[in-house]
């Protein structure tokens, strides 16, 4: 199994969305979990984490805002791109928009990713340790920050539309594309 070209990556991060509701936190918590269980293949629970096929939800929090609404924060780990897509379509089917912060760790060719991001970017900045770009990707505005020294790439993006669950605008597709540019096979 020595395919030296193959770059292994670990995808993890956080999705947040707002919930306007009169229900209690506890009921909302159960509802969201149920929603995921219907849309993703649930395998088992493990010390506070929910293991699904294709990814782990390591934490689900509901945070109360001043105006009484709730913000759901879902942290995930060891995710496959399809898991990101399913997570997004599950939340979008019930809540109107979500914002994703997703990190991908792996020994990518970060120079190639840099060139790609720089090219046609709306904004680009670089320091000794990182670079960061805002750019349009098909219909999406993406914000990518890269720390080459730590083999880490972070993607931030908002999803709010049916189209966002489809190729090429879905989070899984965007991540896959960035990985491919960096020489990965995710």
């Amino acid at each position: 199994m020595n395919q030296s070209k193959k770059i292994k990556s670990i995808i993890s991060g956080q999705v947040i969305f707002n919930i306007v509701t009169k229900e209690s936190k506890l009921i909302q918590f159960e509802n969201i979990l149920e929603l995921f269980k219907q849309n993703l293949k649930f395998l088992r629970k493990k010390t506070g984490a929910y293991i699904f096929s294709g990814g782990i939800i390591s934490n689900l929090d509901l945070i109360e805002n001043n105006n009484g609404s709730l913000t759901a924060s879902i942290r995930f780990n060891k995710a496959k791109p399809f898991f990101l897509d399913n997570l997004t379509s599950a939340t979008l089917s019930n809540f109107n928009k979500n914002s994703l912060s997703c990190s991908m760790k792996g020994n990518f060719d970060f120079d190639r990713i840099k060139n790609y991001l720089k090219d046609g970017s709306d904004w680009f900045e670089e320091t000794k340790k990182s670079y960061s770009a805002k750019k349009r990707y098909d219909k999406k505005k993406i914000h990518v920050t890269v720390y080459p020294g730590m083999a880490l790439l972070n993607l931030m993006c908002e999803f709010n539309d049916k189209e966002d669950t489809l190729d090429p605008n879905s989070p899984g597709r965007i991540i896959k594309n960035l990985s491919r540019i960096g020489g990965g096979t995710t």
Binding site: G13, K46, T71, E125, K129, S130, N154
Partner: protein, 423 residues
């Protein structure tokens, strides 16, 4: 708005006994890790004056490049959190903490112009006295003087952070790192006077591994810390019943064979008829009291000592089962069953690989071992879980905590929670 800000600029910093685990929320679920140490180079030699920029303290990946003669290592290479506690006026140790904190923050300093500083959640040992909290805040304030990297800060104890990462409010956390182990009952808050600290951790498992390697004829290698650590992780096995497992391995050494090669070298370590020693490593982590260990102590294995730090006694030889019982029994009686029913294992010293099926009944996992130790003492209604990726669970908790605590919740010295704002 403020949640957006937090989603970009929350920052976790876990000050472990030997590793500093840090990173912004953008890291996802894995922090960056460097050794929690600083080197004070002697800036008086020619090489430095001629070629090097002189540095007062070196931290992070650069440390090995600066290391000078072996003799000055003990004096000039400082692990400030080695016991989880730093004395108030140990200025060199605090300087290291400041330097690694700055190193961590700078590594993730963003370029975006909405950045007004990180919301940093620092995590300290459960036995850290109040002045350490004050000192951390003071250090952050000093860091901000040069350039504003911190918007708000808070400190939580490592076991509480583990509980948060796993969403349990009533539990007993055993956090076992490199230098020591803390057993901490939690009921919404850490129950401070029930904490049992143990002066034994992964570092002690390294020491016995080094002795074993010496006996096998790898004396030179046994002096290399990095090599010993790998050997420990590859070879160590946790016995179900120490005596039975050792006896079995002495009789059928092949059943337990496991050779390993050191990457980048030609060296292969093979235990041959000594595969039984694999169980010494695992047993020693959980319970170093078997008489077989005495001969190692006699020959120079440093025995984990009882030490007193402040008003706390860290026992060296306490087995982990006994330690849990001691901690739980210091809590209210009604709470005790709940604390046994939710025991969480965290920290790198519990990272042991699941043994292979062939060794079933002989070698076991960390949580089963704790269960066995408790059962021996008559405690049976227990539930023990291993945290996911034990080495990172404290850091994960800091990120979740930082995200969930409202920004306008001000720091309280009574509760030890909330944010100190640097605006």
């Amino acid at each position: 708005m403020s949640l957006d800000y937090k989603q970009k600029y929350s920052f976790g910093a876990d000050y472990g006994t030997s590793y500093f685990k840090f990173g912004s929320i953008l890291c996802g679920e894995e922090p960056k890790m460097i050794e929690n140490r600083g080197y004070f180079p002697r800036n008086d030699n020619i090489m430095h004056n001629a070629f090097g920029e002189t540095k007062d303290i070196v931290v992070g990946d650069e440390v090995p490049l600066y290391l000078q003669a072996k003799e000055d290592l003990t004096e000039n290479l400082i692990y400030p959190m080695k016991n989880g506690i730093i004395e108030k006026n140990n200025s060199r140790a605090w300087d290291v903490v400041k330097t690694i904190s700055l190193y961590g923050l700078e590594a993730f300093e963003p370029t975006d112009n909405d950045f007004e500083g990180f919301n940093i959640v620092a995590s300290l040992s459960s036995i850290a006295p109040r002045y350490m909290y004050e000192k951390i805040f003071q250090i952050y304030k000093e860091i901000n003087k040069k350039r504003k990297l911190i918007k708000a800060a808070t400190v939580i104890s490592q076991p509480l952070s583990v509980a948060i990462a796993h969403k349990v409010t009533t539990c007993t956390v055993i956090e076992s790192g490199h230098g020591n182990t803390q057993v901490c009952p939690i009921s919404h808050y850490p129950i401070r006077n029930a904490i049992v600290p143990i002066n034994r951790g992964g570092g002690d498992a390294n020491s016995i591994t080094a002795e074993i390697l010496k006996d096998l004829g790898y004396s030179d290698l046994a002096r290399e810390e990095a090599f010993v650590l790998r050997a420990k992780e590859k070879l160590g096995l946790i016995p179900v019943d120490f005596e039975k497992s050792v006896a079995k391995a002495k009789k059928h050494p092949k059943k337990f064979k496991n050779k390993f090669k050191i990457p980048g070298t030609r060296i292969v370590v093979e235990l041959e008829e000594n595969t039984w020693t694999r169980f010494l490593i695992g047993e020693y982590v959980f319970d170093p009291n078997h008489e077989l260990f005495t001969s190692y102590f006699k020959r120079g294995l440093p025995k984990p000592k009882d030490i007193r730090i402040g008003d706390l006694l860290f026992k060296g030889m306490l087995d982990f089962g006994e330690a849990i019982i001691e901690a739980v029994e210091r809590c209210p009686v009604e709470l005790q069953p709940h604390l046994y029913r939710n025991i969480l294992l965290s920290g790198g010293n519990f990272c042991w690989e699941q043994p292979s099926i062939q060794l079933k009944g002989l070698a076991t996992s960390a949580n089963s071992k704790i269960k066995l130790l408790l059962r021996k003492k008559g405690i049976t209604n227990v539930n023990i879980s291993m945290t996911n990726e034990p080495q990172y669970s404290v850091w994960r908790g800091t990120i979740i905590y930082g995200y969930a605590v409202p920004e306008n919740y001000n720091w309280s010295w009574d509760q030890l929670e909330g944010w100190i704002s640097f605006d």
